[in-house]
Every structure is written in C-alpha cells, then in structure tokens.
C-alpha cells in the first residue's frame, strides 16, 4: 500500500505537493556563480598522465634525476664524512665571548613585543628574534 501511495492522486494533505517540493529543494537556476571545475580537472589529468609539472614544479624526467642526485649526495655524506674525520675529533671553533649585546625594548606596530637574542659561535653573527606578545 505504501509503495502504491505516492502514485495515487487523492491522498489528502498527508503528502507534500509537487509545488511544495519544488520550493523546498534547490533548483539549478538558484545556484549562482558555480565554480568552473575544468581547471582542477585538467590539472589532475595532466598529473595522472605525468605530462605536466607536479606540485614541486619539476617535470617527471627531472624528478628522477633530482631524486637520484639527492640520494647519491646523501650516501656520499654518510660514508665520506666519517672517513675524513676518523680518529680525529671534528674541530669545533672556540666559543668566543660575544660582544655585549642587549635589547632594551622593542615594539611591533607600536605594541610591546618580546625579543630573543641568539649568540652564534661566530662573534660577528648574532640573531635577534622578535615576536608579538600573546
């Protein structure tokens, strides 16, 4: 009976009418400025085919070359560096006393900010990091 009911015309006010349903649902012409799906689609197809730049901007053939070169460089570092410094301690530059450097006050957009001073082993290089106070 229930399956038959939607096809029966005389069903009182139990069911929403076609007009009600049209008002409740969203017609295609009510959707404004629908996104163009083509650019995203075309980019995905190119990526799948491998005939275009990927997210890194590298072409497929270059990806292999760059990957192999990177791997070789890594192997070289892992093998060669211990060989070069075998038995000898890796020289560490003596920490020289950094010149007195102090930040008294700092502001960002006219509001007090926090400053961090990092002295490096090189006496000529000092990093200062300034950030907004939360």
């Amino acid at each position: 009976m229930r399956n038959h009911k939607p096809d029966v015309e005389e069903r009182g006010d139990e069911l929403a009418t076609l007009e009600d349903a049209r008002r409740a649902t969203i017609a295609a012409d009510r959707l404004k400025d629908v996104r163009d799906f083509w650019p995203g689609f075309a980019a995905a197809v190119r990526r799948e085919r491998g005939d275009g730049p990927d997210k890194t901007g590298a072409r497929p053939e270059w990806r292999w070359i760059l990957g192999t070169a990177g791997l070789l460089a890594l192997v070289g570092i892992v093998i060669l560096v211990p060989m070069l410094y075998r038995g000898e301690p890796i020289p560490v530059a003596p920490v020289e006393r950094a010149l007195p450097f102090r930040v008294d006050s700092v502001t960002i957009e006219e509001k007090p900010a926090q400053a961090f001073v990092f002295h490096t082993q090189d006496p000529d290089i000092t990093y200062v990091w300034v950030e907004r106070q939360l």
């Binding site: 229930r2 399956n3 009911k5 939607p6 096809d7 006010d13 139990e14 069911l15 929403a16 009418t17 076609l18 007009e19 009600d20 349903a21 049209r22 008002r23 409740a24 649902t25 969203i26 017609a27 295609a28 012409d29 009510r30 959707l31 629908v34 996104r35 163009d36 799906f37 083509w38 995203g40 689609f41 075309a42 995905a44 197809v45």
Partner: protein, 180 residues
C-alpha cells in the same frame, strides 16, 4: 553533438570533449549535490571529484543509455558516500563528547541574511530522501528513474520519495508554510 558522441571522443583521447560534458552538466550536478549534501562547499568539492571519477570510468559507460542518468548515479553515490563518512566521523567525535551521534532533526530554521541557500526543509530529511525528492520535484523523474540513480528497486525509491514528501508536509505544517 550528443552525450554519447562526446564520450566516444573522450575515449579516443580528446580530453577537450569532456569539457563540453562538464559545462553541460555543471549546474545540474551542483544542484543534485547541494540537495543531497545540504551544503554548498561540500557540494562543490563533491562535483569536482565526481567529474574526475566519471572521466576515469568513462569506459564503463554504456553508450546505449543516458549519460545524464549514468553521471547522476555516480554523483549521488559519491555524495551519499560522503554523507556516510561524515556521519561516521560525527559518531566518532560524539564518543568523546558524550553526545548522541546521528543526523540532527532539529526544528527547521530559516536561513540567516547572507547565508544564501535555504536548507531548512532538506536537512531534516535523510540523504536518499533528499535525492528522491529533488529528482522528482526538479527533474521530473519517475520512481523507476530515481531507482536507477539510487541503485535500488523502484519500490524502494517510491518509499524514499513517499517518506520525503510526508516529512516535508509535516515540516511545512509546523512552520505554517504549506500552500493550501
């Protein structure tokens, strides 16, 4: 050029032919997705993915049948799948919040100014009921055609439609918005 011809050209490697299909079905696809998902942003993402899926599976399209119905079936399946995933995720989150999972059947609320589309009568319906209601009301589909899109028997599609219309009528009565 017919849809089947455009599909054939796509299968021959002319991707541009797919653009014609995409342009033709962009707005109707968005309408189907918006009505199922009741959310515009989700619908746009779903359409983007469904077009890609359709392109990948074009070889399974039977040229003797309607491309529109084939695409609608694929799109609605994709949207219903998203709804299921979202519901599962909500259920997962609810475990931590000690809330009851499931779709909120709160009273219909009118859209706020600037909110755009009015989903107040769609959200209380189940996703398959929304699909059936939209296809019947806006596309003029019969129970048989709705069944082909939903991948169920015509009787089951008729039940979805019947439930949607009953719920909608109740909602309209509650909000005194029904046309006599």
């Amino acid at each position: 050029m017919t849809d089947s011809e455009l599909v054939r050209k796509c299968l021959e490697g002319r991707t541009d032919s797919f653009r014609e299909l995409m342009d033709k079905y962009r707005d109707p696809a968005m309408a189907v997705a918006v009505n199922i998902l009741a959310n515009r942003e989700d619908a746009e993402d779903a359409c983007q993915e469904a077009f890609m899926k359709a392109y990948r599976h074009l070889n399974t399209f039977d040229a003797g049948r309607s491309y529109k119905n084939w695409f609608y079936a694929l799109l609605s399946n994709h949207c219903l799948d998203l709804v299921r995933k979202k519901t599962r995720f909500k259920g997962f989150l609810a475990r931590f919040r000690h809330e009851e999972p499931g779709v909120c059947l709160a009273a219909a609320r009118a859209p706020l100014p600037g909110e755009g589309l009015d989903f107040r009568y769609l959200r209380p319906l189940a996703p398959k009921e929304r699909t059936a209601l939209y296809l019947w009301a806006q596309e003029g589909y019969s129970s048989g055609e709705i069944a082909a899109v939903l991948g169920c028997r015509p009787n089951t599609a008729a039940v979805h439609l019947h439930r949607a219309r009953t719920k909608l009528r109740t909602l309209l009565k509650e909000t005194n918005d029904a046309k006599p």
